[in-house]
């Protein structure tokens, strides 16, 4: 960390976080990439990592439970939903971490507030508009010659990267239209004053021009993604991510998004196809990264605004809930189960899972363990799942 940056951080951070070892650390590992996958709508954790051996599970979910013989067993208590079978190879290769009971105290059950809390790494009673990755990048900025601070593939939100001054590139539908505009805007300088709205337009244009020019130079549309991705928008997003990284675009973060997890009704119809895409997508992405010799440099992490209610509702669905399991995968990941499965007998407010792992532990893992950036704003400890 540069001294100037440290002083700025120290000036705003409370004294309790004033820990001397932050003063000196090795340079951040900007050769390492974080790939975030947002499961939009609140993924039902209990049908993703299933406590199949707990009789309470079947009792709470008389019509939507996954039959015990269809569960892909991880151990004697837990197993993955059958749609996630392509991920079992990563599990057997010990490159898949299953993090249990991820949540936070006083959970908020609103989609929007929930995802804001996750995106900004705040406590439930705090509000912030700056994404957690942008807070990390404020402590240590990615190299200036990188294409961008983050690339969002697809139409998802820039959530964790959100900040007024971050360089974020959004590449929808393979980015063809964006690349065309990049060429057209190449010569247009147009910067200037005006009101805040105009300043925003001009600044956005400038940021787009710089980032897109860096991607354009790599001809990513001609790069072999390296694997067959599942059909559909989510698979296309991950294929785009594979082409960007395989083509040598330098960027510390790529974010993909799959929506539709708000399964208040008919969950048995609606959730399995989504999990199928997640499982096949992550497996294909791992294969592609191995082909490009990048798998040791990639950390894949899922997240969602909340899990869902343990007890199914009267519509064959589940209402908004709290804690849920998430996945972290990569060539350097020490595979296994991390954290405790929340109890189905001891529920929060009598109906929701009590979190056992704070979601900021996942962020600490990415920032501290993966990139080597001390993050005083995160009090939670990393999960300890990156091998040396």
């Amino acid at each position: 960390m540069k001294r100037r940056d440290f002083l700025r951080t120290a000036a705003v951070a409370p004294l309790v976080s004033f820990v001397p070892f932050h003063l000196a650390h090795a340079a951040a590992r900007w050769d390492r990439i974080l790939v975030l996958i947002e499961l939009q709508g609140g993924n039902d954790g209990l049908s993703t990592v299933i406590p199949y051996a707990d009789p309470k599970y079947a009792e709470l979910r008389p019509t939507i439970k996954v039959a015990r013989d269809r569960v892909l067993q991880l151990d004697e208590r837990l197993g993955l939903g059958p749609e996630l079978s392509p991920m079992m190879k990563l599990w057997r290769d010990k490159q898949l971490a299953v993090v249990l009971g991820v949540g936070y105290p006083d959970p908020n059950l609103s989609h929007f507030r929930g995802i804001d809390i996750w995106h900004t790494a705040t406590n439930a009673d705090e509000a912030s508009t700056v994404g957690w990755l942008s807070q990390v990048f404020k402590l240590e900025a990615p190299p200036a010659d990188y294409a961008a601070d983050g690339i969002v593939v697809g139409r998802g939100s820039v959530g964790p990267l959100k900040a007024p001054d971050r360089r974020i590139l959004v590449l929808e539908n393979g980015g063809a239209a964006a690349m065309n505009e990049a060429k057209r805007m190449a010569g247009n300088a147009g910067m200037g004053g005006g009101n805040a709205a105009l300043a925003h337009v001009l600044q956005t244009q400038q940021s787009f021009k710089i980032s897109s020019a860096a991607v354009l130079a790599k001809n990513v549309d001609r790069v072999d993604p390296g694997a067959t991705f599942p059909a559909g928008d989510f698979g296309n997003q991950l294929a785009m991510a594979a082409r960007l990284l395989g083509g040598g675009v330098q960027v510390p973060v790529i974010k993909a998004t799959i929506g539709g997890f708000d399964t208040h009704a008919a969950q048995l119809t609606d959730q399995p196809p989504l999990l199928t895409q997640v499982g096949a997508g992550i497996a294909a992405f791992a294969e592609a990264m191995k082909k490009h010799n990048l798998w040791d440099r990639v950390l894949v992490m899922t997240y969602s605004e909340f899990g869902r209610r343990p007890r199914e509702n009267g519509s064959g669905g589940t209402d908004h809930g709290t804690a849920a399991p998430h996945f972290i995968a990569g060539g350097k990941v020490k595979g296994g189960i991390y954290g405790q499965q929340p109890s189905l007998d001891d529920l929060f407010d009598g109906e929701n899972l009590k979190h056992t792992t704070h979601f900021r532990s996942m962020y600490a893992t990415a920032a501290q363990e993966w990139w080597g950036i001390p993050t005083p704003f995160i009090k939670e400890k990393p999960l300890g799942l990156i091998s040396a």
């Binding site: 908020n108 059950l109 609103s110 989609h111 929007f112 507030r113 969002v152 139409r155 820039v158 974020i168 590139l169 959004v170 590449l171 929808e172 239209a177 964006a178 065309n180 505009e181 990049a182 057209r184 805007m185 010569g187 247009n188 147009g190 200037g192 005006g194 009101n195 805040a196 709205a197 105009l198 925003h200 337009v201 001009l202 956005t204 244009q205 940021s207 787009f208 980032s211 897109s212 208040h264 009704a265 509702n313 009267g314 519509s315 669905g317 209402d319 908004h320 407010d349």
Partner: protein, 454 residues
């Protein structure tokens, strides 16, 4: 010819679709500003301008449909998808054609407030009925509006009230009623209130099976027990819950702030919001007077606030085609343009609607807007010069654009205007200078970064 009246231009841009035709500005310019505001409000109409789609009168044989063989049901669903596309195109056409753009501006405002999405509701006739409800209550009484929206068939489906039943409550509607429709997130209610309110809406059902979708309470599915809600106890039903919510002062503040953000700028003045909220509450939630106050306010009229808002994609598309065009021959092209620019009308991204404001412009949407405006500028060039051979890029830009809706006579008339007069008609603030492109002086203004503002 005199310059366009800048204050009336601003009023029409902010109550319509980001800009206005010269005739529309001139028609309101010969009177006092306050008169012009009242005249606009008088013109808001519960009736649409265009004739309604014919499939609206197709009976809703939901029960019968469920018992049909699969092939027959699939065929009906195919037909319904076609009707969904027509529903979207119909609304774009209404916005493009109506002589009362303020009406459709408010319908869109409420669509972004009491959201529903056709991809979940499925039945286009229910979505039509919902937009009709928004037209009816556009500037009416908010209390009646909330109660009607709670019983609206599309809403009953979209937020799962239709499967909310005693003993197995579904909280989706109850939560959004407080979080998004009335109080604002976390402002004066608890999780307990959400659960209890959900019980009060149990048994609320869509009536289908005849020619007109409606609402009824299914007694056997309704939880008639005592609820504890916001410190009260009683055998509340849904209307009672709305009544209790509307006694909270946060409701008027929340709606006043939302109106401010829609009409004035991105930075509501807390003291002014308090005053507007008081007026709104004192008038028993009448919308017209509070909207009139906003439109006549010093803040609204402050020249500093001209160009302070980003045009929504709908503003950009509808405004541009209203000013440059004739009524479009093929409105079916418009929904896809809206989707590409980030606003697929009748299919909002989620129940919170489009966040709007500066978020309409990001590093993904700005290039999409530029591509759209390049296509419009290319079409302007074609219409102005009668050019038959086009550059490859211009052809690509115009692909999938409703270019035939850009009218040669209008383009020629605008092209003949003195430069400054044209700039004052098309832009809210002086031009900042944009990329080189087709369409001459008119094209240069369309491609100017300030064309994104209103």
């Amino acid at each position: 010819m005199a310059r366009p009246n800048a204050e009336i231009r601003h009023l029409l841009a902010r109550t319509g679709f980001g800009m206005a035709k010269r005739e529309e500005i001139d028609a309101l310019s010969g009177r006092s500003y306050a008169d012009a505001v009242e005249r606009l409000l008088d013109n808001v109409s519960p009736k649409p301008f265009l004739t309604t789609p014919d499939w609206l009168n197709v009976p809703l044989f939901a029960q019968i449909e469920a018992n049909l063989p699969k092939e027959r049901r699939d065929a009906m669903q195919m037909e319904r998808r076609e009707d969904q596309r027509e529903m979207k195109a119909w609304w774009w056409a209404e916005m493009l054609n109506t002589p009362r753009p303020f009406t459709e501006h408010m319908v869109l405002f409420w669509h972004n407030h009491f959201t529903s999405a056709i991809n979940k509701v499925n039945r286009p006739e229910l979505m039509f009925k919902q937009t009709a409800l928004f037209r009816t209550h556009a500037i009416g009484n908010f209390e009646k509006f909330v109660k009607a929206a709670a019983k609206d068939p599309a809403m009953l489906v979209y937020l799962d009230t239709n499967s909310n039943r005693a003993g197995n409550p579904n909280e989706n509607f109850a939560r959004e009623l407080m979080e998004l429709f009335t109080l604002g997130e976390g402002r004066g209610y608890t999780e307990q209130d959400v659960r209890e309110a959900a019980r009060a809406f149990t048994g609320w059902r869509v009536v289908t099976g005849n020619t007109n979708a409606g609402f009824r309470v299914e007694g056997t599915l309704h939880d008639g027990g005592v609820k504890r809600f916001m410190g009260r106890r009683g055998r509340f039903d849904g209307d009672d819950i709305v009544d209790i919510i509307l006694q909270q002062p946060q409701v008027a503040e929340f709606i006043a702030e939302k109106l401010w953000l829609n009409f004035i700028n991105d930075a509501p003045d807390p003291a002014a919001i308090q005053k507007l909220a008081r007026q709104f509450r004192d008038s028993k939630y009448e919308l017209r007077p509070v909207i009139a106050t906003i439109l006549k306010s010093d803040a609204f009229r402050d020249p500093e606030n001209r160009g302070a808002l980003v045009k929504s994609p709908t503003d950009l598309i509808v405004g541009t085609f209203r000013v440059l065009g004739t009524p479009p021959a093929n409105p079916s092209l418009f929904p896809a343009v809206g989707r590409a620019l980030g606003q697929d009308l009748l299919d909002p991204p989620n129940v919170k609607g489009w966040p709007g404001g500066l978020s309409w412009i990001d590093t993904s949407l700005l290039p999409a807007r530029n591509a759209f405006m390049f296509g419009v500028a290319a079409a302007v060039e074609v219409q102005a010069t009668g050019m038959q051979t086009l550059a490859t890029q211009a052809r690509r830009d115009m692909r999938n654009l409703p270019v035939t809706s850009i009218d040669a006579n209008t383009v020629k008339k605008l092209g003949a205007m003195p430069g400054e007069e044209l700039a004052e008609l098309l832009l809210p603030v002086p031009p900042a200078g944009g990329p080189a492109g087709p369409g001459g002086a008119l094209g240069a203004l369309l491609l100017d970064p300030t064309f994104n503002l209103k």
